[in-house]
């Protein structure tokens, strides 16, 4: 295998990992605040379609990403109203959001199936972004660097800031946080909105960068993989990054073996890989000896009602 091919394989891996990293990072913060939003796939689809339509109509791809983040945020507020304000079951509400996002995106995108848009250019100048070797580090669009910067920011925010501590406190013990006087529901709303915006952005990465054209259900269940990654990461941003890149590698393996006409496994078996790998990863992480030390936030998925 030549160096050139190796470099393009790694670059494909990074691009495959970026959207699940973004979506996973958003959900990680949401779950740290004690909320389980299973609507990631739905919010991603809403973001994907909003981003594509905006980019397609304006001809300006950055506007697509902005619209996607906003649309994902709006979708997450729908979850917020039901699960946080009304106090509906979070599992059911999240599922409803995914079904809703799937329906809305295929309805809104129906007129755009098969059309294409322009990708974002690489962030760095062509002299290094197009360099045969340097492109490994500098050949990506701004979203890739943003996803890594956000990982850094999330790790710093959660572990080294006062606000991060309050967010974790709300997730570990909502009643204590409320008793001290923190607005539990408001803090959770902020987290949910952040998760929604990142999911929207992640969805748009599929429709604007990975395959820059519109197809129904373009995210193909990756939102669920992002959810699984959060568990896999034990709610730690850097491990999430690692997990996302491992999964990016699995997906790239699928892609390249298909292209190379790799005859060892039929294509359908390769397409199963990321999903099977997720199940295996969840099982393996559950078997590790240090279980229970830094596991799920205590209040994850529990409805909070301020002293009714």
């Amino acid at each position: 295998m030549s160096l050139e091919i190796a470099i393009s394989i790694v670059m494909t891996l990074v691009i495959a990992a970026t959207p699940i990293l973004l979506a996973g990072l958003g959900e990680l913060v949401v779950e740290k605040s004690g909320v389980l939003n299973l609507g990631v796939e739905g919010m991603m689809l809403v973001g994907a379609v909003a981003g594509f339509i905006t980019a397609s109509l304006t001809g300006f791809t950055p506007a697509g990403y902005a619209a996607a983040a906003f649309a994902g945020l709006c979708a997450s507020l729908l979850f917020g109203v039901l699960a946080l304000t009304i106090g509906a079951n979070q599992v059911a509400t999240g599922l409803a959001l995914t079904i809703f996002g799937t329906g809305l995106s295929s309805l809104a995108g129906a007129g755009f199936v098969g059309t294409t848009i322009a990708r974002l250019p690489a962030l760095f100048p062509q002299s290094i972004a197009g360099h045969p070797i340097l492109r490994l580090a500098f050949g990506y669009d701004v979203i890739v660097y943003l996803s890594i910067a956000l990982t850094l920011a999330a790790a710093w925010f959660l572990n080294h800031t006062r606000s991060g501590l309050i967010l974790r406190c709300v997730g570990e013990s909502d009643a204590s946080a409320h008793a001290i006087g923190y607005p539990v529901t408001a803090i959770r709303y902020l987290a949910v909105a952040f998760g929604g915006a990142l999911a929207g952005l992640a969805g748009a990465y599929y429709s604007l960068a990975v395959t820059p054209m519109w197809a129904d259900r373009i995210t193909a269940g990756r939102g669920w993989i992002a959810l699984a990654l959060v568990v896999f990461s034990s709610w730690r941003p850097w491990r999430l990054l690692l997990g996302a890149y491992i999964f990016g590698a699995v997906m790239t393996l699928e892609l390249y073996s298909k292209a190379a006409g790799f005859a060892l496994l039929p294509p359908e078996m390769l397409a199963m890989l990321p999903y099977l790998a997720t199940v295996v990863a969840l099982a393996v992480i559950a078997m590790r000896p240090s279980r229970g030390r830094l596991d799920a936030p205590r209040c994850l998925g529990k409805t909070f009602r301020a002293g009714a």
Partner: protein, 359 residues
């Protein structure tokens, strides 16, 4: 005056049973607004989706046939949801059930005997249950959330289906189409009423609902499932095993989904094709909630959803409403149902503002 919500001592029965009706009414209203905004004939489309199928008796058998798999799957899911077991991979179990049953059908090719169809149905049941046993085992042994694993396995099942119909199970005389050969007479679920689509699978669903109702409300097993869901601590103190409940509810919901899969495959398609899975496993989640996780409620909820499916077909031709609108309508139903539940556990009271300030 302030509007104040306060918890009811016991859920209001009127609100409990009225909530799904209110949710459907609100969905119709929201649908009208949404479709009008999107440039369709809003009121007309909503009428076609929800009312028109009910006004035409010749469509009633179609509604029953459409409702059959939804109700069968949702009956199983509702039992699990009651016990806080979140099997959301029913779609995968539905597919694997169809695959297992088709396996028997292909293996018994040429045998025209009475036992062929029953073995197919049993294989479907076992196939679905086995597929659901994987997430159940992972939850019991390793405490891995069944939500994620059951869903991941749906994608695996889908690819397995594609592989089989494109590869080893492809009809040799099928002009290379990715589908199995047609089932024989002995492999087809018999028709129930001449001139309609109604088949024996509909009765099977009805039977499943009756058994589920009996078990859930009249036996110790049903009581155990409800206690594990409502009060896990009390269940543990009472000597009920949570793990056993998890396994049992997963096997039941997976088995029913698998049975629904092979019945649908045999009765409606007459062969296994890639077009076979149409997300009934996900829609059944809505049916389960719409039916308040009660078998009889699920039956009614399934009929309501089936009506909207048939109605969406009408609206597609009459109002050019895209097929995707169905999913949107269904999700809105669940949203509104979750929303109006606020009034099931709470009541609204008008409080004089003076009192509010004093407190």
């Amino acid at each position: 005056m302030w509007i104040k919500l306060e918890p009811r001592k016991a859920p209001s029965h009127l609100a409990l049973y009225g909530a799904p009706v209110a949710a459907i009414a609100l969905t119709m209203l929201a649908g009208m607004v949404l479709f009008t905004l999107m440039g369709y004939r809003g009121a007309g489309a909503v009428f076609e989706i929800f009312i028109e199928p009910l006004l035409e008796p010749e469509r009633w058998p179609d509604i029953a046939v459409k409702a059959s798999p939804l109700v069968m799957i949702a009956t199983g899911l509702a039992i699990g949801f009651r016990a806080n077991v979140w099997n959301i991979g029913a779609e995968g179990q539905y597919i694997v059930g169809a695959i297992a049953g088709t396996g028997i059908a292909l293996a018994t090719y040429g045998i025209e005997s009475w036992w062929v169809l029953p073995s197919m149905l049993v294989a479907g049941l076992i196939g679905g249950a086995a597929w659901a046993a994987i997430p159940a085992l992972l939850r019991i042994r390793l405490k891995v959330s069944e939500i994620l694993t059951s869903l991941m396995l749906t994608y695996v099942a889908l690819q397995l289906l594609y592989y089989l119909v494109r590869g080893p199970w492809r009809d040799p005389e099928g002009y290379n189409f990715p589908q199995t050969r047609m089932f024989s007479e002995a492999e087809t679920v018999p028709n129930l009423l001449e001139g309609t689509q109604l088949h024996w699978g509909v009765l099977l669903t009805f039977l499943a609902v009756l058994i589920a109702w009996f078990v859930m409300s009249r036996t110790l097993t049903g009581y155990q499932v409800r206690v594990v869901g409502l009060a896990p601590m009390a269940a543990r103190l009472g000597g009920f095993h949570e793990n056993r409940t998890v396994m049992m509810t997963m096997l039941v919901s997976g088995g029913l989904a698998g049975l629904a899969g092979i019945v649908e495959c045999s009765a409606t398609f007459g062969q296994l094709t890639p077009q076979f899975p149409v997300n009934y496993g996900f829609t059944a989640i809505i049916v389960a909630f719409l039916g308040r996780l009660h078998p009889i409620g699920v039956l009614i909820g399934g009929l309501a959803l089936a009506t909207s499916y048939i109605g969406a077909d009408i609206a597609q031709t009459a109002s050019a409403l895209p097929q995707a609108a169905t999913g949107l309508i269904q999700a809105m139903m669940l949203f509104f149902l979750l929303g109006v539940d606020l009034f099931v556990v709470n009541r609204v009271r008008l409080v004089p503002s003076v009192v509010q300030h004093a407190s």
